[in-house]
């Protein structure tokens, strides 16, 4: 196949917790709010379920940005899950920054089930950020690139 100048279409993975953010995404949909189709949502039982390895794996398999959404601190369905997730992700993002991955490629946002507007705004701004950062060339298995 000849090399051609393809337009950059980012791949963005969003981990959304079942109880708040996934319902928030649902509300965004039923309220006819738009967010870019580049965002692929993965539903997890709780933001605490997101293993640091999930995030690294997503980058490995070609994601350009990873965002994690969960219930607001204090509102976790399992009471405390997102507090643990918050510490974990802070350390992981700090480490990614330390090895030279732009900090803008990772984000955590708390979105409740009633915040369809916030969900759509968050995704729009995140995708915009990834467009400005461009393709993720530092991380990722080269064999996964087309």
């Amino acid at each position: 196949m000849p090399l051609e100048n393809k337009e950059f279409k980012p791949k963005i993975v969003a981990f959304c917790c079942n109880w708040c953010s996934y319902a928030g995404a649902d509300l965004a949909g039923s309220s006819r709010l738009t967010y870019p189709a580049d965002v692929k949502i993965i539903r997890v039982p709780c933001s605490c379920r997101v293993n640091p390895m999930f995030i690294l794996r997503a980058f490995e398999k070609g994601a350009d940005g990873v965002i994690m959404c969960g219930c607001h601190p204090g509102d976790c369905h399992y009471s405390t899950g997102n507090y643990y997730a918050r510490r974990r992700m802070t350390l992981l993002f700090s480490m990614l920054d330390y090895i030279g991955v732009e900090n803008g490629r990772t984000r955590v946002e708390w979105v409740s089930a009633a915040e369809g507007v916030k969900f759509s705004e968050t995704m729009n701004s995140f995708v915009e950020k990834i467009y400005s950062l461009g393709e993720n060339v530092r991380l990722g298995d080269l064999r996964c690139k087309s």
Partner: protein, 324 residues
């Protein structure tokens, strides 16, 4: 050293312990290796000198399953690891007879070699009892001397102190060897641009041969089934991995011990490729200290580890971008 051997003989003779966990002389003057001694006869190979850097606390996980007590020789920094293992119920305190051995900084043969010392035949001044501040090294090219401090392991320059955190008895004097700040190197990297950081870690980590020595030597890495042994994980075999998996391995390795790492420096000491692996662990320690309050893993056996704890006011992950 003789005092230690005599005490070991006594303890073996009166049946207090069934075996002694220490170091035995290797075939070269600078490579003693961890070993079990079960009889007085075996103890003739026992050695304890400046090159006995291995942290023996991890061996107590297996020794705790054996019949009878084990006498284990722990240096001051090793006792932090032992405490951490007690906290995680990985070792049985009742099965260990801990002899806190003196330490005046452990030596790094690579640092000696880097100073142009080749063909080593004999090394004097590495005994713990020696007061001399220099090492006399007999080489095939003649005698060389280098200051003791210049031959020390990196971890000894940021020594945690000369006190044993846990012991049944102490033998020998210890000396605090701290002469540098712990986070200097981490701060140097943090100040780099993303491109420089990435280039730095790429060049360091590309040396990795995935021998798993860092994981196997680490006293905090004590899972019986390790995620990296899974055949679902490509980096379980070097032939399949690419440069990213190398990084992923090292990030995950450090992450799994975040908040539990006592900064004993074994990972960097055992790395056959000389990768400064402690820089990952120290970055986590530094972040934990800054964000969640100072914490030294292994200083006690009952505190809650930072990653299994939380407060309502914890920093949001977006702080990473704001700190710059």
């Amino acid at each position: 050293m003789q005092e230690l051997i005599n005490r070991a003989k006594e303890l073996l003779a009166d049946g207090t312990v069934a075996r002694v966990l220490g170091w035995k002389a290797g075939d070269l003057p600078y490579n003693p290796e961890p070993a079990y001694f079960e009889t007085e006869e075996d103890l003739k190979d026992f050695v304890y000198n400046g090159f006995c850097g291995a942290n023996l606390s991890k061996y107590m996980i297996e020794a705790s399953k054996l019949e009878g007590k084990t006498m284990v020789c722990l240096k001051p920094c090793d006792t932090y690891s032992f405490n951490q293992l007690i906290k995680e119920h990985r070792v049985d305190r009742e099965k260990a007879y801990i002899v806190g051995v003196g330490c005046k900084g452990k030596l790094d043969i690579e640092r000696i070699r880097k100073q142009g010392v080749k063909g080593i035949e004999r090394i004097e001044g590495a005994e713990i009892t020696d007061d001399a501040e220099t090492l006399k090294i007999q080489t095939i090219y003649g005698e060389k001397t280098i200051p003791y401090a210049d031959a020390m392991l990196e971890r000894c320059h940021v020594c945690k102190g000369k006190d044993h955190m846990i012991f049944d008895e102490q033998i020998g004097e210890s000396k605090e060897t701290k002469d540098a700040e712990r986070f200097v190197e981490v701060e140097r990297i943090e100040a780099m641009s993303p491109e420089e950081k990435f280039a730095y870690f790429r060049s360091e980590l590309s040396k990795c041969i995935r021998c798993n020595a860092c994981r196997n030597a680490c006293p905090a890495c004590s899972c019986r089934k390790c995620v990296f042994d899974s055949n679902k994980f490509d980096s379980s075999q070097k032939a399949n991995v690419d440069s990213f998996e190398e990084k992923m391995f090292h990030i995950i390795r450090a992450f799994h011990v975040a908040g539990r790492c006592t900064d004993c420096g074994e990972c960097s000491r055992v790395c056959p490729q000389g990768i400064p692996l402690h820089l990952f662990n120290r970055k986590f320690i530094k972040d934990i200290d800054e964000l969640y309050g100072e914490y030294q893993a292994g200083a006690d056996t009952d505190s809650t580890a930072p990653l299994t704890d939380y407060t309502f006011e914890d920093a949001e992950p977006s702080i990473v971008g704001k700190r710059g």
